[in-house]
Amino acid sequence: MIELERVAYTYGGAELFADLSMTLAPGSFHFLTGPSGAGKTTLLKLCYGELIATAGMVRIFGQNTREMDRDQIALARRRIGVVHQDCQFLDHLPMAENVALPLTVSGRQEEADEYLEDLLGWVGLSGQASQLPPQLSGGERQRAALARAVIMSPEVVIADEPTGNIDWEMSQRLLTLLVELNKMGKAVLVATHDLNLIRAAKTQVSARVLRLRGGQLQAAGAEL
């Protein structure tokens, strides 16, 4: 689905990482961990085509991102649900419309009415559909972001520090939702520095943990 082959990324003359390889297979669950500034978010952006590798090759659904134009990248993103740490909402639109954005930009907004109710119920936000994003709590925003990420029934779900701004109980709820998605066959990639979350996840799902450190990507040891 998503393959990184000997990928390097240089920003402002500094090499963030080099010779990095990784594959996200269907139904897989990966955690990406590492210290702040190691390049986790950059690596995720390479995976959904927001950034282009300076060397090596990133393939999204078999296409080399360097050879894809902006519209091809956009079409590929409809198959990848992304949850950002800061959620990235349009603050002037009610939460339900924000969740339905991927359908709207795909010209399938008529499907929104069909999915929204169930989806908002799944993430526990049925009562907040008409609220604006600034009116929601951090946990509600993260769950809304997850609902938006999956409304197109994507093949891959990528989450960048999804529990960074929420309490442990809410983190557990979010993790449960990600695990449920994985059990539906979605590939899940979660960047987090929350080791407790990773430990909790490993009790529910077979997850592979990758550590990004010093520009190298390594499988994490048994301490997790």
Binding site: R70, D71, A74, L75, H84, Q88, E97, L101, T104, V105
Partner: protein, 297 residues
């Protein structure tokens, strides 16, 4: 759905993605209205000068003047001789000597109403109206030289050409003004669109993250600016047309200035301004949006 259809029909949910706040709304509508108002006057000027050029060209091309300068005791005989020559000249439809009253009326603007015409050696003027392809001026001059030595033929060529050229130049300036107004409208819309695109950089980022194509993102801005330009220019064109309508009627004394306006079906021309302004806005916003989206990628 074609681009033009989507501009007209729109997509309410897509439209809502870009917030409607911002000074560019009023700026675009006001500028489009002002430009349309000016465009109506430029159009009226162009059409008025076109009519003027046509009229001058037609009237002067179809008439000539024969001037008989002779001693007072011979002037009547030479006038009659000249009329006889003209009656047998192919291409001359009619020829008549102007009366004393008509000649006084011609001189009155320069010499006043009390001119003693009878005591002055004023030449007699004969007005010639041409038919068909007109007459052979060179041949007529040769015949007149032989039979009416005091006759001088003026076929108006000498002063008709610069008048028509001036009217043509004025008309061209009117159309140039229209082109400049169109260009200025495009530039203004481009600046406003750039400002809107910059102000909504975060909106564009979110739209991209959820899989919006460039055409979809650009469309949200293009439709908005096209409709604003159309609405503003509709108000401007209406105000301009009303201004032209209430101009004073044309009269003999101020024939050209008061003749500025539209006649008959020409009143339909201002109706073309709002769609043209919309088209300019469509092209300008689309180009600005795609350029900005390319820069931001």
């Amino acid at each position: 759905m074609s681009d033009w259809t989507s501009v007209l029909v729109g997509d309410p949910r897509a439209d809502r993605m870009v917030p409607k706040t911002g000074f560019t709304v009023q700026l675009t509508v006001f500028s489009a209205a002002a430009m349309a108002f000016l465009a109506v006057f430029a159009l009226a000027l162009s059409l008025a000068t076109e009519r003027l050029a046509d009229r001058w060209s037609a009237e002067l091309a179809r008439t000539s003047t024969l001037r008989i300068s002779a001693p007072q005791d011979q002037i009547t005989a030479q006038t009659e001789a000249a009329l006889r020559v003209l009656q047998t000249t192919p291409g001359v439809g009619s020829a008549r000597a102007l009366s004393d009253e008509e000649q006084i009326a011609l001189l009155e603007p320069w010499f006043g109403p009390d001119l003693p015409v009878a005591s002055l050696p004023i030449p007699r003027l004969i007005e010639i109206v041409e038919v068909g392809d007109g007459f052979d001026a060179t041949g007529l001059r040769a015949r007149l030289q032989a039979e009416v030595p005091g006759a001088v033929l003026d076929d108006h060529t000498r002063w008709r050409a610069p008048l028509v050229a001036a009217a043509d130049r004025l008309r061209a300036l009117g159309f140039l003004s229209l082109a400049l107004i169109g260009g200025a409208t495009g530039a203004m819309i481009t600046l406003a669109a750039q400002a809107a695109l910059s102000a909504n950089a975060q909106v564009i980022r979110v739209m991209r993250l959820v899989g919006a194509t460039d055409a979809f993102i650009a469309g949200a801005f293009v439709r908005r600016f096209t409709l604003r330009a159309f609405t503003g220019s509709a108000f401007g064109a209406l105000a301009g047309a009303a201004g032209i309508f209430f101009l004073p009627e044309a009269d003999v004394a101020g024939g050209f200035l008061t003749g500025l306006g539209f006649e008959g079906l020409h009143w339909l021309w201002p109706l073309a301004i709002p769609p043209l302004a919309g088209a300019v806005a469509y092209v300008a916003t689309r180009a600005a949006a795609f350029r900005r989206l390319k820069e931001q990628s």
